[in-house]
Symmetry: C3
Subunit: 352 residues, 3 copies
Amino acid sequence: MTEADGPGPLGGSLFDSRVGLAVRRWCAPVLDLAPHASPEEYLARRAELGFAEVNRRFLAGAGLDSLCVDTGFDFDALLTPRELGGLADATPHEIVRLETLAESVAAELDRPDTFPDRFREALVERTRHAVGVKSIAAYRAGLDLPGERPPDGEVVKAVERLLRGSGGDPQGRRPEHLRIADPVLHGFLVWCAADLRLPVQFHVGYGDAEADLTRGDPLLLTGLLRGLAPTGTPVMLLHNYPFHRNAGYLAQVFPNVFADVGLALHGVGDRASVLLNELLELAPFGKVLYSSDAYGLAEFFHLAAVLFRRALARVLDGGVAQGSWTGADASRLAGMVAADNARRVYALDQRR
Amino acid sequence: MTEADGPGPLGGSLFDSRVGLAVRRWCAPVLDLAPHASPEEYLARRAELGFAEVNRRFLAGAGLDSLCVDTGFDFDALLTPRELGGLADATPHEIVRLETLAESVAAELDRPDTFPDRFREALVERTRHAVGVKSIAAYRAGLDLPGERPPDGEVVKAVERLLRGSGGDPQGRRPEHLRIADPVLHGFLVWCAADLRLPVQFHVGYGDAEADLTRGDPLLLTGLLRGLAPTGTPVMLLHNYPFHRNAGYLAQVFPNVFADVGLALHGVGDRASVLLNELLELAPFGKVLYSSDAYGLAEFFHLAAVLFRRALARVLDGGVAQGSWTGADASRLAGMVAADNARRVYALDQRR
Amino acid sequence: MTEADGPGPLGGSLFDSRVGLAVRRWCAPVLDLAPHASPEEYLARRAELGFAEVNRRFLAGAGLDSLCVDTGFDFDALLTPRELGGLADATPHEIVRLETLAESVAAELDRPDTFPDRFREALVERTRHAVGVKSIAAYRAGLDLPGERPPDGEVVKAVERLLRGSGGDPQGRRPEHLRIADPVLHGFLVWCAADLRLPVQFHVGYGDAEADLTRGDPLLLTGLLRGLAPTGTPVMLLHNYPFHRNAGYLAQVFPNVFADVGLALHGVGDRASVLLNELLELAPFGKVLYSSDAYGLAEFFHLAAVLFRRALARVLDGGVAQGSWTGADASRLAGMVAADNARRVYALDQRR
């Protein structure tokens, strides 16, 4: 339910955190319970309904039109974009995880020096039906990536290090045993995506204990963003908490940078509007997107959507009440953040 | 009254800051003055009553049940835990400052290579009646400490550097002349405490001009926290402002990490609820504690307690008013943050 | 209108950001339009009135008493302090940009080793009628500047590097071709100003895409601020967003440090009071100043002043409503932040 591996013996129940309280408030009614049902009631009812019905209810209740799903992690244990789309009655789209694809290419290599071409070919092939790609550099080498495109020669050396680091002959190596964590490689993958004009998502900030937020501030991407700006490749900064104001700054000053507060949005429960307001201090409304980063628990598809709609309404109605903008502005801005920006940047309408 | 050494000729009175305004608002009545009494009235009345009566009033008025007191700084000029407990009608507990103890051990050494054992013995002895220890690495080498336990050999070398740095023969050296500021030593001290399963407090963030907040972000502790997690040693991140959201993240993802916004709580006066709300975005309610970090002025025992109770009520009542949780939840969560978490983590009930 | 170079094809109109919405709300009426006039109406009316009338209206409407103007950037394209003062009916004062002056001195040098003396002489001459100086180290080498005064020998070596870097003979070189971006030189310039007891402004945080905020956190100045504290030289941290809480901390613990949230103030539109409240958590009211950082668009002289007055009123009235301070306190604190602090620190009354 949180980014913790689990509750510890000292810290009490994770239901006693804002996200847990929000699950009791907003998810319990979807399972026919009263709002604020106790954790015990909640878990019992969830088990009684079974995961298939639980998934169906939360996905259907989220009110989504389209779903962009990162398929690069824990794929065998999760529903596919098509399955999620079916449950949500929404058009599914795929986001290809760069490092997963690159690790799979590296594991199949005859010779390290073929990696750059093999990866470029694989990316074309693999993204034929995808709407974008994702980098998880934040979980590996961190976001302080090179500002220029790494030359193929450097990339090959990095791949040699990667294969040596795995301690054996490249043939027959399973992709999951290779773990890219090298600024040169992360950078190379991003530039390959830019060559295809694919929107590039970056995990930024909030994540689990592996994330190492000391290397997860989006400001560390400044050099790379400067390098990418002339290409016009859309860059999507995902999550960003607690660096979301920094992300808002980047979304303002770089024409191709976008941001969201996904994951944090449901992670902070009833504080979602605070985060959204902070992101929108500098970020233009045309640069902010909705995202749930829902993963694992179906609840989060529903909860993130509910909290986002409430937060956005609070931000925009608050502005109307203060006289900062008009009701007509608020409607228009809501449409941009909730749907139009994503449709435009990911070119979703061309994909239906 | 603040973390400044004193007012400067250019900056005006420190009473004209949020903490000063809060002293006039909440402390003046304890001295029989009207709320918002002028600084002049306040200081005159304080002098008239005398420090003993002032101490008595503020400590008694704080409404404390237990007091955990760091005894490692400026000890001769301050009241002892027992004296503070007597004035507050609260059970006193001691927190042993690691660096102070280590400096005292180092000053008495025959040979540097005996330091590891001497310190381990001294820590057992010195903490026999203590509830925890404290590291002030943030004031010395900074919080970027090694993730693994430093081998004794490295520790000995660091002690040799420490003794050489003091420029003389170790014999007869007074402890106050030795100043530990070495990541290896700070790390060693923490691991020794972990071996005894003692809760380890870290000064984090807000402090005086010596603190150097560029090295005081709690995220810098990520590696060490990963190393300590399997030991189950409770780690208490103290203060944290302006990095309290980062601390909240760490308190969520590491099962043994706890956090407070002490010192900042009274430091920001009527903004205390804002800080507490921000800390509690990610930090579970089972991971957040009360602390005053009161030091020097008796006012702060009272002021921190008043501002904390008001802030916590505002956070929790705000949630009830919004329908985020129930009144019964609010009461339960209040009890956790105000008392139960501290009782559990420091095992206070076993110490009475 | 923002710190972006311009709108991108993907991001929509910059009018759809908080600053753009604030322009429509607060600037439209100054041009005889209804509040919230559409961007099209606004731009048409602005063109119709012409820039001279637009400048006049916004400057006159700002309600300024004094204007401190940095003359070191894009000077030929901008109004002079005297012209701005005339339009605003305010006393103009000059702020001399250190790097611009130093680049001009370096471009005229016979020999690099004469730079330290030449610069010291030029600074005396150039600041005879100025109220302070400004460093843009944040845009060049970043704010991690040396804590001690660099010796002249090191300064000369840095100037040699600067001249060599320009790839040619120093004679006849045009100043705009030299670009100081060296911690030693930035530091030297600041210390020269300190010798003259001139208030030193630092650009901090928020700026355009060239700013590189990874090197723009004011905490990076900690070492230099420690070094400058004994000199009593006032140091003004400008802008600071999103690091304004860090700036507030520095303004509290260093007697000679001041801070504002200029640029961000109008940059975030109706969120200005949030920023001001955050800055004023730790910063004493005697340490916070008003600034617009208006540049380019005359709107910002007006908008920053309107938003600042509203924000300050909201902060101070909010405190009165909560019982945190009295109405008399609020009036007094408002006078400090809005005028008296600037008058005192820049010694404006001695300059009229």
